[in-house]
């Protein structure tokens, strides 16, 4: 059963007189308990998709369901409620997820404000992320790795169904990054669906599935170590960059029909 379903999601930003299309006709389904890495170059629209999934933005077009709720049609109060109970989010900069002058425990308690204060879960989470001894330490005095782990604990404070993380390992050393990924996988083990924006191949490999966004579209998906291109709504297929030397952008190709698909061959008109 899918927890997240995007159906032709379009996101357009308007800045003064300029319109920027961040996402175009994104179709994506993520099952409950699945862990997904969102890959793609900078500016491809990964973070925008993440913000849409968090209900922080409303899609310009298309529909987006989370646990059966159409996010675009929820009023603000229900959206806030949904975010409190269903979504946990880790922002890119670890410090940004935390209130620096509050202790680790207080940061988790702050995240529980909108739902229910659960001290036992807070303790468990701190223990799970290895910060049991740092419960009373101000978050601002923690190392980057500790902060990222704490950010993850904060995001999981209300046992969300969907965990969203934006570059959770980008500012961490390898060991810290590895621990964070393990924590994400652990959360998934508890039934939490995780969507992680990352540039880190190790993260992609560690998760169940990768979704590559290019130019605002879902260009490819990877499952069990194998990458697939995704055929878009109008039949468009993005050639992965690693094949651009065979089919450079702007080149022409012939389609050859095969039994189970088609083959593209460079043509020289």
């Amino acid at each position: 059963m899918s927890l997240v379903r995007c159906d032709g999601v379009v996101q357009i930003f308007r800045a003064q007189d300029v319109e920027v299309v961040a996402l175009r006709d994104v179709d994506l389904t993520i099952g409950a308990g699945e862990t997904v890495a969102l890959l793609g170059p900078s500016g491809a629209g990964k973070s925008t998709l993440l913000w849409l999934l968090a209900g922080l933005l409303r899609p310009s077009a298309g529909r987006l369901w989370l646990d059966g709720a159409d996010l675009g049609r929820l009023d603000q109060r229900r959206l806030d409620r949904l975010r409190a109970t269903h979504i946990g989010m880790v922002l890119q900069n670890p410090a940004r997820n935390l209130i620096g002058h509050l202790s680790a425990a207080q940061n988790i308690a702050f995240a529980q404000r909108a739902v229910r204060r659960d001290r036992r879960r807070a303790r468990e989470l701190l223990a799970r992320v290895g910060l049991a001894d740092a419960a009373d330490r101000p978050a601002g005095r923690m190392s980057g790795g500790e902060q990222q782990r704490l950010a993850l604990a904060v995001a999981l404070a209300n046992a969300p169904k969907l965990l969203l993380a934006d570059e959770p390992t980008s500012q961490l050393d390898e060991e810290s990054g590895r621990r964070v990924i393990e924590l994400v996988r652990d959360a998934a083990g508890d039934g939490t669906t995780a969507v992680v924006v990352t540039h880190d191949p190790a993260v992609g490999e560690a998760l169940d599935r990768t979704v590559t966004i290019r130019d605002g579209r879902v260009g490819a998906e990877g499952r069990r170590g194998e990458d697939f291109v995704v055929v878009g709504r109008e039949g468009a297929v993005q050639v992965p960059p690693e094949y651009h030397h065979l089919l450079p952008p702007g080149s022409m190709a012939r389609i050859e029909e095969l039994e189970d698909g088609i083959a593209l061959r460079r043509a020289e008109p």
Binding site: W51, A54, N97, L102, A111, A114, N158, Q171
Partner: protein, 1001 residues
């Protein structure tokens, strides 16, 4: 959590706290200061009032005085303990004089014992030396009868004189202005000085009136009980005015249905108090309103800064799914706590500041009260911060969360609605102000016009806030091509920075108000000094007890033989007012004068122009006066009584000597001169006749009388006097000593010693109006030798004339006339000693400085002082807030600056950029404030009230002193530059390339 957050943002929190404290303190200062100013007004009015205006004398013939007085003074804690007394009036057999038999508690301490002792037992009295009684003598009064065993009931009670007193001063407040004894020591023939006794006398006697017993020993009948109730200035405060008015109303109504009479002139004192207190109220309220408004604006921006500084936390709260209202409350928590903490601190600061202001600006001893209105005003000011915090927090709570994570905040256009409303109100107020002319009513009307200074400051600041980005955008295009990176970055930031506009508005408004306050204060101080200079006449005006003009002139001449230090002056209130002075001395002592107001005429020229003829006066010294007359035969049945009028040394009024009746066609008439004329020369001022008609007559009498000779007897020998040149008031052509005695149009013959229309400096619309003259008889108009818009000693339309001339014209000196000696000196002790040595008695002195200070102590002056002190404080705070806002804004651009440095921009260019940005903003705000303040001063000065009662003269110059304004603006600019340099350096230290790693997605 809230406290930790406040500590985390301690600098900003402290600034918000400070800025919240200021409007609360300003709001609280107003009522505290106003209460103290009202107390000052009440006490000064009380101090200036005559003794009868400083309390009540409560009298009753119904007894039970203590209870009545207790009811009258109930709830009034500012009254002194009543001084009780009793009295009765009676005659004495074979004595034409009326006697008062009096007891007043504590009387012995206020009577100077000449002989014997104070009465101790019933039937004992103490008499004045002037009564002629001797110690041991028994006095019997016709209405005071002996009471007790053995008395027949019709025997006068013997009152034994046990002591004699010297008449004291009636000015002693103890007597409450009563004339129980003649202050001159010469009681009239009809009334003797009081006999003082003890209460026991009342028990030992009873009183009869016209043979009817009206009282006995055990009732109060026949005696009048009284109590003198004073007001203690040290316990009177401004809040007592209502109670005082109620007491006075009760006093005035007391006699309607009871035998109670309450005598007082407190109504006059209350009028002065109320007028000044009213003059204080509205300006003070407006000053407070403008300052609180400014404080609100500062609060609005700073509280907004605090809320925005919590943006990341608020975004996190949104991210974690907190509902909007909870996010809003979360955003409000810190500002609310600060505002709540600011209330007691602000009230305390207001109390301390008001105390300092009261100590510095008001007379010593004025208590620093804390009226409930001060607390209310403080809370109201805090609500302004709440109003600011609420919307700002809501905006931050509801804006898209993703906006918080943008590196460069989107530009948000400022709405025009608020600006348009403020500018419209400003324009309306300005039109009203300019159309209204001088606002003389300070009790409420024209209030919007009086708010114009603040509105102009705000309006100009708003326009400047709009204009600066536009101007810098134009210059920005220039710096793109040349000028370097620093100016380019600075102008770009000023042009697009929302902080710039806000800072310019705050600075412009604050400095506008400060510039106006300084301008208004300097101009008003100048106006006060100018007014005081003219109203006082000279540097110091010494008031002396009235003496005849000749003696005053002679005493001053003797005390200041050089004629360059002192001038004798007599002033009569008019209208028109009369100031009679020695013109030459007036010019020499530098009396108040301004040639520009007198068509270029100098005081010396004016003095020369008003001097009159010095023809000889007719002095007589001796014991008997004789005049030889030739005249028409008086008509049958008519009696023509002749009289001569003399000025007698030692008296202010002329003495009239009867010279007998005319008979035949000529005759010699004589009469004894007053005894004083034997010691000192008296002056013949006039001769006149009085026709006394028969019971029936056919035609009116008309008898022409000619003076043929004058003589005086001195030491037994007659001496002829040289006949002077004569004039007749009613017939200017008659010069030969002939005048008419008629029933209608009777004439007076006077020695021709003065000009019929004396020359004078005329101030105001006097025209052909008769001036009072020294005798207040309004006998003649004056000739305008010099017309001036102001003259020394004149507070209204009036004339300045030669004292010698005025003395020659007048028959005497009226009791309203004020005798002064004007001097250029400020330390007058030596001069006063000399004047006392010459027989003058100095009553008081007043310097220009003191009079200036009294103007400052009036309502509008006190309100302006409040504006000055508070506006300067607010301007300093606005400057600090602006520097902080620029610092915060620049810090938020740290990423951008770090990127520029990483891209190769030199630190010097970044320094110039930061420095220039701040200097442009602060200088624009300060200069906009200067322009706004000067515009407000131009529009409002001369129209807003400066005095409780606007003076008619002199014309007020309203001259703004450049130095204080330049000092304020210069200090502001200097501070701005220093602050900008420091802030730029601090910011540059925080710009590090490592910060780029902190980049969000």
């Amino acid at each position: 959590m809230i406290l930790r957050g406040l500590w985390e943002r301690r600098t900003l929190s402290l600034v918000v706290l400070l800025i919240a404290i200021v409007p609360i303190a300003s709001a609280a200062v107003g009522p505290i200061y106003a209460a103290a100013a009202r107390t000052t007004i009440a006490r000064e009015a009380l101090a200036a009032a005559p003794v009868e205006g400083r309390g009540w004398r409560y009298t009753t013939t119904e007894g039970d005085i203590e209870a009545k007085v207790a009811a009258f003074t109930a709830g009034a804690d500012f009254t002194t303990a009543p001084s009780y007394g009793m009295e009765l009036s009676s005659g004495r057999r074979d004595d034409e004089r009326a006697f008062s038999l009096v007891w007043q508690d504590g009387q012995c301490a206020h009577l100077t014992l000449a002989e014997g002792r104070c009465p101790r037992a019933g039937g004992e009295v103490m008499a004045s030396q002037t009564t002629g009684f001797a110690v041991g003598e028994t006095v019997e009064l016709t209405t005071v009868m002996k009471s007790g065993p053995g008395s027949t009931g019709r025997e006068s009670a013997p009152l034994t004189v046990v002591g004699l007193y010297r008449p004291g001063s009636a000015a002693d407040p103890f007597w409450f202005g009563r004339t129980l004894f003649s202050p001159t020591g010469e009681p009239s023939a009809n009334k003797a000085d009081a006999l003082f006794t003890v209460p026991q006398t009342r028990l030992d006697t009873y009183i009869v009136s016209s043979g009817v017993s009206i009282g006995s020993a055990d009732t109060s009948g026949g005696w009048t009980d009284y109590a003198v109730i004073g007001i203690d200035p040290a316990r009177l405060d401004g809040a007592d005015l209502d109670r005082l008015s109620a007491m006075q109303a009760a006093a005035e109504a007391a006699g309607r249905d009871s035998q109670v009479i309450v005598f007082s002139r407190l109504a006059d004192t209350l009028k002065v108090m109320t007028a000044n207190a009213d003059a204080l109220g509205v300006p003070t309220l407006l000053v407070i309103a403008q300052l609180v408004g400014l404080g609100w604006m500062l609060l609005f921006q700073t509280v907004g800064d605090l809320v925005r500084a919590r943006g990341p936390e608020i975004a996190l709260a949104r991210l974690r799914g907190l509902r909007r209202t909870r996010v809003w409350l979360f955003a409000l928590a810190e500002p609310l706590l600060l505002l709540a903490a600011a209330v007691p601190l602000g009230l305390l600061a207001g109390h301390v500041a008001a105390g300092a202001m009261i100590g510095a600006l008001l007379p010593p001893g004025i208590p620093v009260a804390f009226p409930p209105t001060a607390a209310l005003a403080g809370v109201a000011a805090m609500l302004g911060g709440l109003l600011a915090a609420g919307p700002v927090a809501w905006r931050v709570a509801t804006r898209p969360v993703t906006e918080e994570w943008r590196r460069t905040p989107r530009r948000s256009a400022r709405g025009w609605v608020l600006d348009a409303v403020v500018l419209a109100i400003t324009a309306l107020g300005l039109v009203e102000l300019l159309a209204a002319g001088v606002l003389t009513d300070v009790s409420g009307r024209g209030s919007s016009a009086m708010a114009v200074p603040g509105l102009i400051a705000l309006g100009v600041a708003l326009l400047a806030g709009r204009a600066l980005p536009v101007l810098t955008r134009r210059l920005f295009a220039v710096t793109r091509r040349r000028g370097g990176l620093g100016p380019f970055l600075a102008l770009r930031q000023v042009a697009r920075g929302p902080v710039t506009a806000g800072s310019v508005v705050v600075l412009g408004a604050a400095f506008g108000l400060a510039t106006f306050a300084v301008s208004a204060w300097s101009a008003t101080s100048g106006d006060y000094a100018e007014t005081a200079r003219f109203h006082n006449g000279a540097a110091t005006a010494i008031t002396v007890r009235p003496v005849e003009p000749r003696k005053l002139i002679a005493a001053v001449a003797a005390a200041d033989p050089g004629g360059r230090t002192a001038a004798p002056v007599i002033m009569v209130p008019g209208p028109p007012q009369l100031v009679a002075a020695d013109p030459a001395r007036l010019a020499a002592i530098g009396a108040a004068w301004r040639p520009a107001l007198a068509g270029g005429t100098s005081l010396e020229q004016a003095a020369a122009a008003v001097q009159g003829p010095r023809s000889p006066r007719v002095w007589v010294r001796g014991d008997r006066f004789r005049v030889r007359l030739q005249h028409d035969l008086p008509p049958e049945g008519w009696r023509i009584r002749m009289s001569a009028v003399f000025r007698v040394p030692g008296t202010l009024r002329a003495a009239r000597l009867p010279l007998g009746e005319l008979s035949g066609t000529s005759g010699t008439h004589m009469w004894n001169l007053p005894p004083a004329c034997a010691r000192e020369a008296c002056e013949l001022r006039a001769l006149r006749g009085e026709p006394v008609p028969p019971p029936e007559y056919r035609e009116p009498a008309f008898v022409q009388v000619t003076v043929a000779g004058l003589a005086v007897r001195e030491q037994g020998r007659w001496r002829s006097l040289e006949l002077p040149s004569w004039r007749v008031d009613e017939d200017p052509d008659a010069r030969d000593g002939t005048f008419a005695v008629t029933y209608a149009g009777n004439q007076t013959l006077r020695p021709d010693t003065y000009a019929p229309e004396p020359a004078a400096v005329v101030v105001g619309p006097v025209g052909r109006k008769a001036v009072p003259g020294l005798d207040n008889s309004y006998a003649m108009p004056v000739r305008a030798a010099v017309a001036s818009a102001a003259g020394p000693g004149l507070t209204d339309a009036g004339v300045l004339m030669d004292l010698e001339q005025a003395d020659r014209i007048a028959y005497g000196v009226h009791e309203k006339a004020v005798h002064q000696v004007w001097t250029r000196l400020s330390d007058t002790a030596g001069l006063e000693r000399e004047l006392e040595r010459q027989g003058l008695s100095v009553v008081s002195r007043r310097t220009v400085t003191e009079l200036t200070a009294s103007f400052t102590g009036q309502g509008p002056g006190l309100a302006l002082l409040l504006l000055l002190a508070s506006a300067l404080a607010a301007a300093a705070l606005a400057l600090g807030r602006t520097v902080l806002a620029l610092h915060t804004a620049a810090r938020r651009r740290g990423y951008e600056l770090a990127a520029l440095e990483a891209a190769g921009a030199r630190v010097a260019a970044l320094r110039i950029a930061l420095l220039l940005e701040q200097v442009i903003t602060v200088a624009a705000g300060t200069l906009a404030g200067l322009a706004a303040g000067l515009l407000a001063a131009w529009a409002a000065l001369g129209r807003i009230p400066q005095f409780a009662a606007a003076p008619v003269t002199p014309p007020l110059p309203h001259q703004v002193a450049v130095a204080p304004v330049a000092l304020v603006v210069g200090a502001a600019l200097l501070l701005s530059l220093v602050a900008a340099a420091v802030v730029a350096e601090l910011l540059l230290r925080g710009v590090k390339v490592e910060r780029l790693r902190d980049a969000p997605a």
